[in-house]
């Protein structure tokens, strides 16, 4: 039975054009992030070539105002962007699931408190908090950045999962599990969570995209990683060092184009998954 369900899921997943397109783009960029830096001939921050040189066989994506190799920066930046998305999105999803499940399952006073807290963090503009935290950290790494991004991104996920848990916890199979004496934690993890697995997966995808966009904005404001390279930081440097005024499109365009493609692919994948998981939306 299990195998058959999985088979059916794969069948509809592979038939879905949106999912196919989104996943291919994402895998393409993931592969580029994995092997790209190996082809980079220079250190991303080293001054290696003539300043402001357009793309050429020697410098594939051109060079910056200071003669840094844009391709090396791009390849390394892509890698850290995806890492931030994975870790930040992962933490955001995990916190959202945890808080949403507990609030929805326990109900009562605990729910009131958690819900109030969720609402407060939901209203606070995420980026404003990230700015104030990042500004006071003198040394910032990609990992710390992703943790902070994850810790501020969970509220909408928690709210949605809480609502789902509410509707699931009154079902018979949950009652049955409770009567059989299972611990609440076990019921949450083995009875309720698997029943909204598709939803949790889609939450992760949206959190993934959100973390990438948040990181890009934070880096662009100049509060990105102090060591290393990221796509947002590239755009920040490009704007600060007059790439716009000098018309250095090879420095301005690639980082944002990659972010747009990745996040767009994630959104399209999400719509595709929705159609796969929800039989009502399937186009037959």
């Amino acid at each position: 039975m299990r195998a058959k369900i999985r088979h059916e899921f794969l069948y509809f997943a592979l038939r879905n054009a949106k999912l196919r397109i989104g996943l291919s783009i994402l895998l393409l960029f993931a592969a580029a992030a994995l092997v790209g830096p190996m082809f980079a001939r220079y250190d991303p921050n080293a001054y290696v070539g003539p300043p402001a040189h357009p793309p050429s066989p020697e410098y594939w994506f051109g060079t910056t105002t200071f003669g840094q190799d844009v391709y090396s920066q791009f390849a390394h930046g892509l890698r850290s962007t995806l890492v931030v998305g994975l870790i930040g999105g992962g933490i955001g999803t995990m916190l959202g699931v945890l808080i949403g499940l507990v609030a929805g399952y326990r109900g009562g006073l605990l729910d009131e408190i958690l819900n109030m807290f969720t609402n407060i963090v939901l209203i606070l503009p995420t980026l404003a908090i990230l700015i104030i935290i990042a500004a006071y950290l003198t040394v910032r790494g990609i990992l710390v950045e992703s943790i902070f991004i994850g810790c501020t991104a969970w509220p909408w996920a928690a709210r949605a999962i809480r609502a789902q848990t509410f509707s699931l916890r009154v079902r018979e199979f949950v009652d049955l599990a409770r009567m059989s004496g299972r611990s609440p934690l076990k019921i949450m993890l083995t009875e309720i969570a698997p029943n909204m697995m598709s939803y949790l997966f889609m939450t992760f995808i949206l959190q993934f995209g959100g973390a990438i966009l948040n990181a890009a904005t934070l880096d662009f404001i100049g509060l990105g990683p102090t060591q290393g390279m990221s796509l947002g930081l590239m755009m920040n440097n490009a704007v600060l060092w007059a790439a716009l005024q000098l018309g250095m499109w090879w420095w301005l365009i690639p980082p944002g184009a990659a972010i747009t493609a990745i996040v767009g692919a994630l959104y399209v994948m999400n719509v595709g998954l929705d159609e796969v998981f929800n039989p009502k939306l399937r186009e037959l």
Binding site: I120, L127, A128, I132, A135, T217, G222, L244, L252, P255
Partner: protein, 328 residues
Amino acid sequence: MGRYLGRKLAIYLLTFFFAVTIDWLIPRLMPGNPVDTMVARMALRADVAEVLRSYYIRAFQLDLPLWQQYLNFWIALSRGDLGISTWLFPQPVIAIIYRAVPYDLLLLLPAILLSWIAGNQAGAMAARVRWLDNTLLPLSYILTATPYMWLALLLAWALGHVAGLFPIAGAYSFNIRPHLSWLFIRDLLWHWFLPFTSLFLVMFGGWAIGMRNMIIYELEADYSRYLEALGAPQRLIRKYAFRNAMLPQITGLALQLGAIVAGTLATEIVFAYPGTGYLILQAVQNQDYFLLQGCFLFIITGVLLANFTIDIIYALVDPRTRLGMTGE
């Protein structure tokens, strides 16, 4: 309706309290302290640095007990005292922020309102027309996935640098002083157009997708089917669907405010537009912590006020809230 707004107001006050506490707590919680950083940057002799350090600690009242510092922070805040900027020393932070506010509003208000209206109309239309759906939807997905600053960079490069149609920096030309005349207003609008357009386009995508999905959902709802069975004209059904779909879009606007503000900050940085985003960039580069914290409080206050305004509008638009019939 009074109860509904009262509840919302209570949450906003609590949020404000929470935000101010964060604003106060974070500098004290983080490793390393700003006074040390500030003194270290001056590169003084060790004994002079020590004197200056103790002076700063007294000046910023960091030698008081924590609860007193916290209380003083609130008292200062209630008088509108956000400290003195170190970047534009000795101007008070609040005065610097006041100067930036008009530019923020000039960009934000038209961009939010127009994109919301246009996006909703386009989305509702797309749910009706197949070819529009097939073109508008992919475009909207690309737009909504675009980081704000990248679209801004793209427009600035294409229309500003290559085509030379629009200026790419500042809110008005350097050779004009702000005054009330056609010349100045025209110049202002000319500088305003690109940042506005890039904000408008990114937001437009999101609203169009949301509205399209909502309309399709509403047209599947029982009341639509019932109206259809009664033989009501399509236009009437669409009208009802649109009205019902608008409510989640209003809530969506409240939820999106944070992201919109973030996008505006980034867009202002691209165009060196003298709003809060530009201030934050300067504050970060000059390590002006007071200005940064002031901007933080200003953004929070703005977002909370906007949220409350949206709640009032929601209550006015939705008869159920108006009559106190929902638990929301």
